[in-house]
């Protein structure tokens, strides 16, 4: 369990201080896939770096399984960092080492025997699905493959917690989807707690069970993903759920609103909404939509207005028959 207690962090910059984090408190349970979402500059990266003390907080504590890691010496921190590993937006692989040696790297740092490290690395290459890339150099791999190697490297020391700092932000939606599936698999198979820092709502929706919304260095909303996103309270949350804003005329209607999320649904060739209207006889009003097709898969989300609660339920049931489509009712008191 990770307990973040009243965490604050300020940086001295020319012309004053920047308060990157203000009194942040969060509890992350073992086995969670916990999303921390916010716009750039919200303090997400600083927060995640306080969890492994790459940044020392100005105030407050971080407790991992009851141990206040801020009070540990540099030496003790090193063993914490083998249990709390990290992947990054830019992958940060060692470019002059082969993939195999990259994965061996944290084991080498820990003084693990070379042969054992090699065996473990080969095993991890299997897990991340790149067994044939052992002797390739990172520059020869695509972004998605590099991130898989980075994940393998992060798993080398048998961590209990995996921190993902915008790990999919440099990847296209299809690759993002496959990396997130891998992270979920790791979470389920190895029981690793995952903390995901992102600015992409789709990432949180796809794999997180809990989410905290960070805005201006403070946590403005926290809870299960469905609870937070179906009834967004704070402005920051509303902005995430309705990225284009929601007009007053829309907010004023008595319609029930449904958010339809496409996470790689095979929808490009099928007129799903029209079919839904024909099959169910419910005329849905498309209030806003932001979807795109990559290959034959659809990503993004759509806001539908339907006449009443009953039809909302039926629309939800109908649409969720399609794989990778997720529907939830939202209350938009914007």
């Amino acid at each position: 369990m990770i307990e973040i207690q009243n965490l604050s962090k300020s940086f001295a910059v020319s012309g004053g201080t920047v308060h990157a984090l203000k009194d942040v408190s969060l509890t992350i349970n073992n086995g969670d896939i916990y999303g921390i979402i916010g716009m750039s500059g919200a303090g997400k990266s600083t927060l995640v770096r306080c969890i492994n003390m790459l940044e020392r907080p100005s105030e407050g504590n971080v407790l991992i399984d009851g141990v206040d890691i801020g009070s540990l010496s540099e030496k003790e921190l090193i063993s914490v960092r083998r249990k709390v590993t990290m992947i990054f937006q830019g992958f940060n692989l060692l470019m002059q080492r082969t993939c195999l040696k990259n994965i061996c790297f944290p084991l080498e740092l820990a003084g693990v025997d070379k042969k054992a490290a090699r065996e473990r690395a080969l095993e991890l290459l299997e897990i991340v699905g790149l067994p044939d890339k052992a002797n390739a150099y990172p520059a020869q791999l695509s972004g998605g493959q590099q991130q898989r190697i980075a994940i393998a490297r992060a798993l080398a020391t048998d961590p209990e917690i995996l921190l993902c700092d915008e790990a999919t932000s440099a990847l296209d939606p299809n690759t993002t989807h496959s990396i997130l599936s891998l992270i979920r698999e790791i979470n389920e198979r190895l029981g690793i707690t995952v903390i995901i820092i992102t600015h992409q709502m789709s990432v949180v929706e796809e794999i997180c069970n809990r989410v905290a919304i960070l805005d201006g260095g403070s946590v403005v909303e926290e809870g299960t993903v469905s609870a937070v996103f179906s009834k967004p309270q704070s402005n920051a949350a509303k902005k995430l759920v309705f990225p284009d804003g929601i007009g007053e005329s829309i907010a004023d209607t008595d319609e029930k609103k449904l958010r339809v999320v496409f996470n790689g649904a095979p929808a490009t060739n099928a007129p799903i909404i029209t079919k839904m209207a024909v099959d169910t006889g419910i005329c849905a009003n498309i209030l806003s939509a932001s979807t795109k097709s990559i290959g034959d898969k659809a990503y993004g989300n759509m806001l539908l207005g339907v006449p009443d609660t009953d039809s909302a339920k039926r629309v939800k049931e109908y649409l969720e028959q399609t794989a990778d489509i997720h529907v939830e009712e939202v209350s938009a008191n914007v």
Binding site: R82, T85, F88, N92, L94, M95, Q96, P106, L109, R153
Partner: protein, 234 residues
């Protein structure tokens, strides 16, 4: 003037000198350059590492006053003209080599002149390593020493080789100057025959040989750097 420089007698004389003196001169130039570069790297590499790692935000922050002293000393040594430096370090040369003149003695001022330069080159190479990669290593529990030896230096090898090539060529140029204090090599021949005795053809040959050596060092360095760089997709 040119008819004299390229006269039959001049050619014969040059040929005689070429046979009798140039092999030794080329060898002396080579070993002075290589040895001086090696010593300069031994001193300059750790210093260059300190310049980067010892910074306030570096992996091994050192006291500010120490960093300032380092920087001042390096700048000071680099700003003394080599000709004057050679004379200034006479006492040190005598202490180390036993004499202040001659080929071996010329290595001392060469090293003194070159190691601060090498330190700066190392510094610039190490700064090319992405801070994100260093942060990643820190997140994996790397100690400062491990970051230096397993991340910063290995990741900047191609750049270090390129800069080492620059260092070798600069030292080669300086070594030619050490003919003044009796250092051997092509520089001595160029000065003794060409400058003091007006045998321009001999001087010309010595200069051409220096050019050839620079070309060889440069192409070896360029090729090694490219070959060592795994960032280039093959």
């Amino acid at each position: 003037m040119f008819d004299k420089v390229f006269s039959y007698e001049a050619f014969q004389e040059a040929l005689a000198i070429l046979v009798s003196e140039f092999p030794t001169a080329v060898w002396e130039t080579l070993y002075v350059t290589v040895l001086s570069t090696a010593f300069a790297i031994v001193l300059g590499l750790p210093l260059g590492v300190l310049l980067v790692a010892g910074e306030k935000n570096g992996v091994l922050p050192l006291p500010t006053w120490l960093m300032q002293i380092l920087n001042v000393v390096i700048n000071l040594l680099r700003s003394v003209p080599f000709l004057i430096l050679m004379i200034l370090v006479f006492p040190l040369t005598r202490l180390i080599v036993g004499t202040a003149v001659g080929t071996v003695a010329s290595i001392v001022p060469l090293v003194i002149a070159a190691f601060p330069f090498v330190a700066r080159l190392v510094e610039s190479s190490l700064r090319e390593v992405s801070p994100n990669i260093i942060e990643a290593a820190q997140s994996m529990g790397a100690t400062p020493f491990q970051i230096i030896t397993k991340v910063m230096i290995p990741e900047s090898v191609p750049s270090l080789i390129t800069n080492a090539t620059t260092a070798v060529i600069t030292i080669l140029g300086y070594s030619a100057m050490s003919g003044i204090i009796g250092g051997g090599g092509l520089g001595k021949i160029a000065i003794n025959y060409g400058y003091y005795r007006y045998k321009y053809l001999v001087m010309l040959i010595a200069v051409i040989l220096l050019i050839v050596m620079v070309q060889i060092f440069q192409s070896i360095g360029t090729r090694l750097a490219a070959k060592s760089d795994k960032r280039l997709k093959k």
